[in-house]
Symmetry: C2
Subunit: 352 residues, 2 copies
């Protein structure tokens, strides 16, 4: 039976999402790890509320504008960590607005960012809380050494309007040992300098079930875990049944026996590969590969007859759920296999 | 001097865009080819007006909702071709709405699509005009043979509410000879069946300057030509000076001597590779590669010292301009190097 939903569309199975959230929360509770989910995966206040109700202590956002949309969207979102270097008066002004509304933490990995915040936030009575981003092997942002972390901690602590709160990292997969080593040494150096390190926060869904192997971390920021995706199935972290987000598409052409075209292309599935071959998994069709996307066309190919008809609906698990969320103005919420609601993705496209 | 624009942001240089549009229009005029630009690249009624003023006969859209947004956006858009198989009552109803407002053409490449339209559009006094999509080597949609095109033309012609108008193809690069061969044979077969073939429409920016090598085509549908991008520079079709669309980004971290992070990631630049290595070209920094994107981070690397400072702005030519347009709610229009206006991307995200 086709779903009564115009395609292409992004579907989110609420039962699966809830199960995924509770599964990691149970693990974290067992190991005494606080959970601060990254909302980039869903960009929905309703999902953040579900995560908070399950036991999360707050949310993580990547950009100021994303945090604004989430805070605007739910009175229950009162604790936000923005894991991004924030630069420039315009963004600092928006940050100050958020600082009035919620318990706010930000990060910095260099003196330019710290000094910019120290200039803008100068009120010792209401300091801005800052963590230091550390590079534990992902080689994106982050100070390179525990010594650099200690120096930056001192700089933050010396700014009257800033409050040093600890360390943050986005580690590579299977990076728990490196997190433990870097953070232990950084904490030791910072404490030797007379500062406390209340918070050490790590993240990443692929290795979340090894979070306890870096016991120095007090907090974990999983993102994709609420939806899962093809990349996590490929890593063995989830099964197809754990994938809450799927793309509903219609076969619009079967121009050759072993080729079909669906109405979902890169404008929905995106070109993210995450190391995989092909652009998604067609549920129930293990023999089919999505070998090419253009903006509005997804090309499905098979070795034998493709077994699809024009007009037929298919459901695709995308390579990367988070980026798919960002492509649509609204997602269709599914419960017990039926469409229940359409939720506006309020934090979509918030890149500032 | 930094631009007074919050980053990341998509900039469009209007002078360059105008020059690009006029350059192809001049070529097409010289060869007697009608121009029907694909609006997927800009998604802006203002840019469509620029193209129409330069001599374009109408516009091309990929989806019904995209056409609606463009027609809503400008009274000068009165002639629209939708190059997509349209299926299902909901989309056909929207198509009927457009059919009341503008001169409309659609395509089909299979009997299911033709029969669906024939059932919905049954008024011989106001028939829906249909072209047949042909596969000339791109292996996406399209009937596979001239014989199949002729059979589908007959089916369209026999439907009282449909009017057969000709043939459409999206050829592979350097496909002019294949277009000429396929279309000549299909036209011969269809005419032998007693039908006329008024329109033969081809497209694609990479080979647009070889359009005249398929003289059977009456019309050409370039898209990316208005902005150009890194993929077209790599093909030798454009230079960096011809690239009207750039992404303005700020360096937020220089965590290692040969690595910098900008605040534009896949949420602006997208992961489209189009066969290239890396995710864009940093203007003025030929030695720098964008080797990795996450949603909000672009990683820039170099062999020697990277030569960038935290807080510095850079401009990036993306691999693929069309998909970048789709990532933002508005673009910043630049004239004579200065910001002039912000234009809402009205057809962004229109996937239905």
């Amino acid at each position: 039976m086709p779903l009564p939903i115009e395609t292409p569309a992004v579907l989110v199975d609420l039962d699966i999402a809830r199960r995924n959230v509770h599964a990691f929360q149970a693990y974290a509770d067992q190991h005494g790890i606080r959970v601060r989910p990254h909302i980039k995966t869903h960009k929905l206040p309703q999902m953040a509320e579900l995560q908070l109700a399950a036991g999360a202590i707050g949310i993580t956002c990547q950009k100021v504008s994303e945090a604004e949309a989430m805070v605007d969207g739910s009175p229950r979102i009162t604790d936000v960590l923005i894991t991004y270097n924030i630069l420039g008066e315009a963004k600092l002004a928006r940050l100050a607005g958020l600082h009035e509304r919620v318990t706010l933490r930000v990060v910095a990995d260099n003196p330019v960012v710290v000094d910019g915040m120290a200039t803008y936030f100068a009120d010792a009575a209401k300091p801005l809380t800052v963590l230091i981003e550390c590079n534990t092997g992902a080689d994106r942002c982050g100070v390179a050494t525990p010594e650099a972390a200690a120096a930056l901690a001192r700089r933050i602590a010396d700014a009257p309007g800033l409050r040093f709160d600890g360390l943050m990292t986005y580690p590579p997969a299977d990076g728990a040992a490196r997190v433990q080593a870097f953070m232990s040494e950084a904490k030791r150096l910072i404490e030797a300098d007379g500062l406390e390190v209340p918070t050490i926060t790590s993240g990443g869904t692929p290795s979340m079930m090894q979070a306890a192997e870096a016991p120095i971390a007090t907090e974990y920021r999983p993102g994709t875990y609420i939806y899962n995706d093809r990349s996590l199935v490929a890593r063995g972290v989830a099964t197809w049944e754990d994938c809450a987000l799927t793309v509903l598409a219609t076969v619009v052409s079967v121009p050759a026996p072993n080729r079909a075209i669906i109405d979902a292309g890169s404008k929905v599935l995106t070109s993210d590969l995450l190391g995989l071959t092909g652009y998604g998994h067609v549920l129930g069709h293990d023999d089919i590969r999505i070998d090419q996307l253009s903006e509005e066309h997804g090309r499905l190919v098979s070795d034998g007859p493709i077994g699809l008809k024009v007009g037929e609906q298919v459901r695709v698990v995308p390579n990367h759920a988070c980026v798919v969320t960002n492509m649509v103005d609204a997602v269709h919420i599914i419960g017990a296999g039926e469409p229940k609601a359409e939720w506006t993705v309020v934090a979509r496209g918030r890149v500032l």
